[in-house]
Symmetry: C2
Subunit: 312 residues, 2 copies
């Protein structure tokens, strides 16, 4: 499938071969995309974002991503200067500039810079930013059959929802970064964090699913409500696989015969080991493989896709 | 005191009248100080920082701040490219460029930009940044006698230490920003957050102290170990005021006859109302006023200060 996505390459505009960004109202090469050190989007992580993929020259679930992005902004009381069509046009132009047939496209809104001495966050001028870069794989396509080596983090717990709402996409990754270090230090690559009640939440940029006793489960709280996660719940439903969001205790997760992770950056990714022990028979399970097929097939479904116009 | 700090102004270098920054190895006007959108210091809030004040032409407790900054970097496994003397020299030069006699000086270290597709945070090239801007007052000096109107946040709890360590200075302010919105929405300005056990932690950029039953208490966990907080504990000790870091339940805090906040950005700041009710008699209490005097006197103590050389 990655071959197809790279087919018929469209040449990038001058300077845009590494990616393109929209910052302070201008289209610039990705290398020039910066945030002021004094923007509280950096200095207080007061920012939200979303990521939508372009695959085979079309956005996947663009309006679902933009709807979630708008909701995130509302929850944080960030004002977007563009409406949904305006943002969609900017994203189209970004992808067109890069010529990418498979892209990772991010929208952001930062609180902005305080006027000297005025801390009232209601008075800041919020800043919209977007960029498009080559598609990002959390799990390299060549690793698709070996899959993810995951660990349940022992040294850190996921930030609780009553402190930072994980359904509003945010950059509060201190816990996930600690988990990432722990995973690498333990010879693995993919941390999964528990909440303070011992339930599974999510990983460093991915939701998780467990197939246990004939049911497909994904955590109902403490995690991002991912669009890929939503797609998998929909596809499983159509396929007749019982699937639901529910609390997912660590013991239940460990009892699963199949585990996988989902993300816009990679789709459906089998988890083949957990804390060094094989999951199931140590390879991608049949439910996982079937849902991964359906997931990529959905990228040809007109209900889900918005083609990019590459003509200038 | 603010008059003194502004005495004998030194002219700023060209372009540095709003502040100066050190970014990517260069000294630039503060307006040009930026972080790449792709630096995980922004996009994962994978960064630490510290703030030291310059007062009357001298750094206050410079080496204590740099020691804490180095410790924060170690805890996050960030590599500093400069040693302590090297950083001190850069900060001196920044203040010299601005000509400021009273400055807010920040040091930062970000994780940096991942090399395409390599998520291992151990492999990133970490980035040192610093800047100097005019001194920041959390509580305006003219408000020193009226003091802070604080609220205990009802809608949000402080991120727990087992998720993000508050003693490692960080930009995970989502909870504090929610608190700030709540405070403003309730007609006040200064939120104070509780932890999940109902103990007081800290505010949006300040530690808190309560004078209760003849003892001065400040939270022993869930908060930054502020240098101003440390200074106050030391000064109270010398003054014969029983003072200690201890768990501080909400009820104990509410029973205090005096409350104040501390920060490098403003020193000792009386809290004169809590949730709309006066604290004590509704003005700065005698212990608070005495400690504030001692705090500013300490800015003349050669053990604490490092004069800036403004000659070029």
């Amino acid at each position: 499938m990655s071959e197809l996505a790279q087919a018929d390459p469209v040449p990038a505009g001058p300077g845009f071969d590494q990616g393109a960004a929209y910052v302070r109202g201008q289209f610039v090469p990705i290398e020039e995309a910066t945030v002021p050190v004094l923007d509280v989007g950096f200095s207080r992580s007061d920012v939200t974002y979303d990521v939508v993929a372009v695959w085979e020259g079309a956005f996947f679930r663009l309006h679902d991503h933009l709807e979630r992005f708008e909701r995130s902004c509302r929850e944080l009381r960030l004002m977007l200067e563009h409406d949904r069509d305006g943002i969609a046009s900017i994203l189209m132009e970004l992808v067109r500039l890069t010529g990418l047939r498979a892209a990772y496209v991010e929208t952001l809104c930062t609180r902005g810079i305080d006027r000297a001495g005025v801390r009232d966050p209601r008075t800041f001028e919020n800043q919209f930013i977007a960029y498009a870069i080559p598609y990002v794989w959390l799990l390299k396509p060549g690793d698709g059959d070996t899959g993810m080596d995951a660990v349940i983090a022992r040294t850190v717990r996921r930030i609780p929802s009553a402190s930072v709402d994980p359904t509003v996409k945010n950059f509060h990754w201190g816990d996930l970064t600690r988990g990432l270090y722990e995973a690498y230090d333990r010879g693995a690559h993919y941390p999964i964090l528990l909440d303070y009640e011992g339930n599974v939440t999510e990983g460093a940029g991915y939701n998780v699913f467990a197939f246990v006793d004939g049911r497909l489960l994904t955590p109902s709280s403490g995690a991002l409500e991912g669009i890929t996660r939503r797609t998998i719940l929909e596809l499983a439903g159509r396929e007749g696989i019982p699937a639901e969001a529910a609390p997912l205790p660590e013991e239940t997760f460990r009892a699963a015969t199949e585990l996988f992770a989902t993300s816009t950056a990679g789709g459906v990714m089998p988890i083949v080991s957990l804390d060094g022990q094989p999951v199931g028979d140590g390879g991608p399970g049949p439910i996982t493989v079937r849902l991964r097929e359906l997931y990529w097939q959905a990228h040809e479904d007109p209900r889900y896709i918005t083609p990019v116009d590459y003509s200038s």
